[in-house]
């Protein structure tokens, strides 16, 4: 079995199995816990539903915190959107998704994909640089660094595979797929799960505060 066969066969397969099982395990293991009952009377009878607005409104910091969070907000947005575009816009990725789900859509020209991939990588570097230079603000732990490495790795290896840098293409492609597999495996057990938690966490706080008539 070649490295590529291992990568796009058992490696990515088991990674997906762990990703799916682990994510659902963690989600249900939390969401099926008891619900705290707040028995106090809400400020408005149906006002609590306004709390769900927080899920969307928190997508951008309020003007109060604009200046303080500007760097991080902009760079993080660049990173998240660039990564998302790369993940769903590159031909090879669409082919993989299609082989998994049957869904397909037009791809971006490779040059555009590479440019956006570089944006994603550079913004990720900008974020880690800030984290490293402001230790008192970020209180980073091992998980933060592992997560960063496992997110940066697919970007770096993907760009290298495309540019035919480093080892031969099929080896680089295999390394790229393996790095993604590692990220998939890490996902359910790490802060990467924030990509799902943010909905619940924002809603939870939105509801708590809306109960008291406060829009956060």
């Amino acid at each position: 079995m070649t490295l590529l066969e291992f990568a796009r066969g058992p490696a990515i397969h088991w990674a997906l199995i762990i990703l799916v099982a682990g994510t659902i395990w963690r989600l249900l293991g939390v969401l099926a816990l008891t619900r705290g009952g707040d028995l106090s009377r809400p400020r408005d009878a149906f006002g609590n539903y306004k709390g769900y607005r927080t899920v969307f409104s928190r997508a951008w910091p309020s003007s109060e915190f604009n200046v303080a969070t500007r760097y991080q907000t902009i760079v993080a947005y660049l990173f998240h959107f660039a990564t998302l575009i790369v993940v769903v816009g590159i031909t090879a990725h669409i082919e993989f998704i299609q082989s998994l789900t049957g869904a397909s859509w037009p791809a971006l020209p490779n040059a555009v994909g590479v440019a956006i991939g570089i944006v994603a990588l550079v913004s990720l570097l900008a974020l880690i640089l800030r984290r490293l230079t402001n230790p008192s603000i970020y209180c980073s732990n091992l998980g933060d660094y592992i997560t960063w490495i496992l997110v940066a790795a697919p970007l770096i290896t993907g760009l290298m595979a495309f540019a035919h840098l480093g080892p031969r293409y099929e080896t680089m492609l295999a390394i790229h797929i393996l790095s993604v597999a590692l990220m998939f495996i890490w996902f359910p057990f790490s802060k990467l799960m924030h990509s799902i938690w943010f909905v619940f966490s924002r809603a939870q706080s939105g509801l708590t505060y809306a109960h008291k008539g406060v829009q956060i």
Binding site: R41, P135, N141, H194, Y209
Partner: protein, 469 residues
């Protein structure tokens, strides 16, 4: 107080109140109960408390932190010190570890890879959840995940109650309220003496223990043992309004050290004694004295089924605002530029924003909003019991400088607060920093500007000593 010019004020100024309080607080430290349990039991109880109090909501918050660090920009204690240990997200770390080891979906795994919690860690936590967190919730406003750190800190306080690790001052008052039902010795007798003093000296009547009344009014220990002006002002306003009101000798204390320390049983017990009294007299409205945390302690008490209670619970500022909007407060205009500080517990974590502003509007105030006002208001640094902690003095003093800057930016001459804790902290900060602002209590300000019709009381006015520097 502003009854008749002929009546000389007998209550101390608030500056004096503040100084007197400092002495009383000093004594608390000697009164703190010593731990009675073994270390292992204390740790176990802390962990068990967190297990018992962790629901899906807390779990989601603990799960979703990404260490983005943005909460540090919102926290007055971090901004004042720049010390990483005060970063809000760090306060959750121990809770998260306990959660991961005991409740979380992968707890079997985390039991293998994380260390068990030691008493030392709980001792270190004390500074993080008492001294350096006023549960003001400002960090929630910036958190991209919307994590409500204040709620989590409150659970940690509960855990430290179980571990007998409440800071001395809070522990002493918690024990006093739990076992004797008083705070700073403010008993039903103290209340009666105060009522008599006010009646005898100012001629202002305070109904006590009426068998039934529309409005039940609470007081607080600060007013009963030190600042008589607070209760006097309340009485004058109630009488001015002509409402059918009373105080109850079996439920008059707004302050709730169960909430402040994290003792859920005391929180519930203290709240229930008040709601029981209110139900007995058939009250339609329960007015909570200007004591910030008393608002969440009663109005937002998650353990008391508010929907089925036959009365409304309103904060003093809410009540005054309601009356002002109804045109029932007849007030003289107020001079000078004025601003209002939303106490965290009634503002961001209570939702009573518009009412106090309506009161100031009724006085035709030259009102100016604080920059970073309303939901984004900076905490004064003294809330959630921190004002009582001697150890937290530096944190309080440093963070108050943010407050000074914020108020100075408005150019207002007077900052109105509506919370005894805030007011004590403002007063202490004002004196220490030789700050040229006036700090006024909303209820005393209103009492000071009442235009009493002859039917109600003599109409003369004098300056109110309590609110001036």
């Amino acid at each position: 107080m502003s009854t008749s010019a002929a009546v000389a004020p007998i209550f101390p100024t608030f500056e004096q109140v503040c100084q007197g309080f400092a002495g009383q607080i000093g004594m608390l430290r000697q009164m703190a109960p010593e731990p009675t349990l073994t270390d292992a039991v204390r740790v176990e109880r802390a962990i068990d408390t967190l297990i018992a109090e962790t629901n899906a909501g807390e779990a989601v918050w603990l799960e979703s932190c990404i260490h983005c660090g943005q909460c540090t920009t919102a926290c007055h204690f971090f901004q004042a010190t720049g010390e990483t240990k005060y970063a809000p997200m760090r306060k959750m770390d121990l809770y998260r570890r306990i959660y991961q080891r005991e409740v979380g979906p992968f707890r079997w795994w985390y039991k293998l890879i994380t260390r068990p919690v030691k008493l030392k860690e709980l001792e270190d936590l004390q500074e993080l959840v008492y001294d350096s967190c006023s549960e003001c919730g400002r960090c929630t406003m910036v958190c991209p995940m919307g994590i409500d750190t204040a709620s989590l800190v409150h659970h940690l306080r509960s855990a430290l109650v179980a571990a007998e690790l409440v800071p001395a001052e809070l522990a002493a008052l918690t024990a006093e309220q739990k076992h004797r039902g008083t705070i700073f010795g403010a008993s039903a007798d103290t209340l009666m003496n105060m009522i008599n003093t006010i009646r005898d000296h100012y001629g202002v009547t305070i109904p006590l223990d009426k068998p039934s009344a529309e409005v039940m009014v609470l007081s607080s220990a600060v007013d009963l043992v030190a600042n008589g002006n607070g209760l006097l002002a309340t009485a004058r306003i109630m009488n001015h309004l002509g409402v059918d009101w009373t105080m109850c000798s079996d439920g008059f204390e707004s302050a709730n050290f169960g909430l402040l320390s994290g003792d859920m049983a005391l929180w519930r017990q203290q709240s229930e004694s008040i709601t029981t009294a209110a139900q007995r007299i058939g009250a339609k409205t329960l007015v909570i004295a200007e004591c910030g945390h008393a608002y969440p302690a009663l109005r937002w008490n998650p353990m008391i089924k508010g929907g089925s209670l036959p009365f409304d619970m309103v904060y003093m500022s809410e009540f005054l605002g309601r009356m002002a909007k109804a045109g029932r407060l007849n007030l003289t205009p107020i001079d000078g530029k004025i601003t209002y500080h939303d106490p965290c517990k009634t503002g961001r974590r209570g939702g009573a924003f518009d009412q106090p502003r309506a009161v100031l509007q009724a006085m035709n105030a030259d009102y100016v909003e604080l920059p970073s006002g309303r939901e984004y208001n900076w905490c004064c640094g003294g809330g959630a019991g921190i004002f009582l902690l001697e150890r937290a003095t530096r944190l309080r003093d440093e963070s108050f400088k943010i407050k000074i800057k914020q108020v100075n930016a408005t150019g207002a001459a007077t900052v109105v607060v509506s919370c005894a804790s805030c007011r004590l902290n403002f007063e202490a900060g004002r004196v220490k920093n030789h700050w040229d602002k006036e700090v006024a209590s909303l209820v005393e300000l209103v009492a000071d500007h009442l235009i009493d019709t002859p039917a109600q009381a003599p109409a003369a006015k004098s300056s109110q000593p309590g609110v001036t520097a």
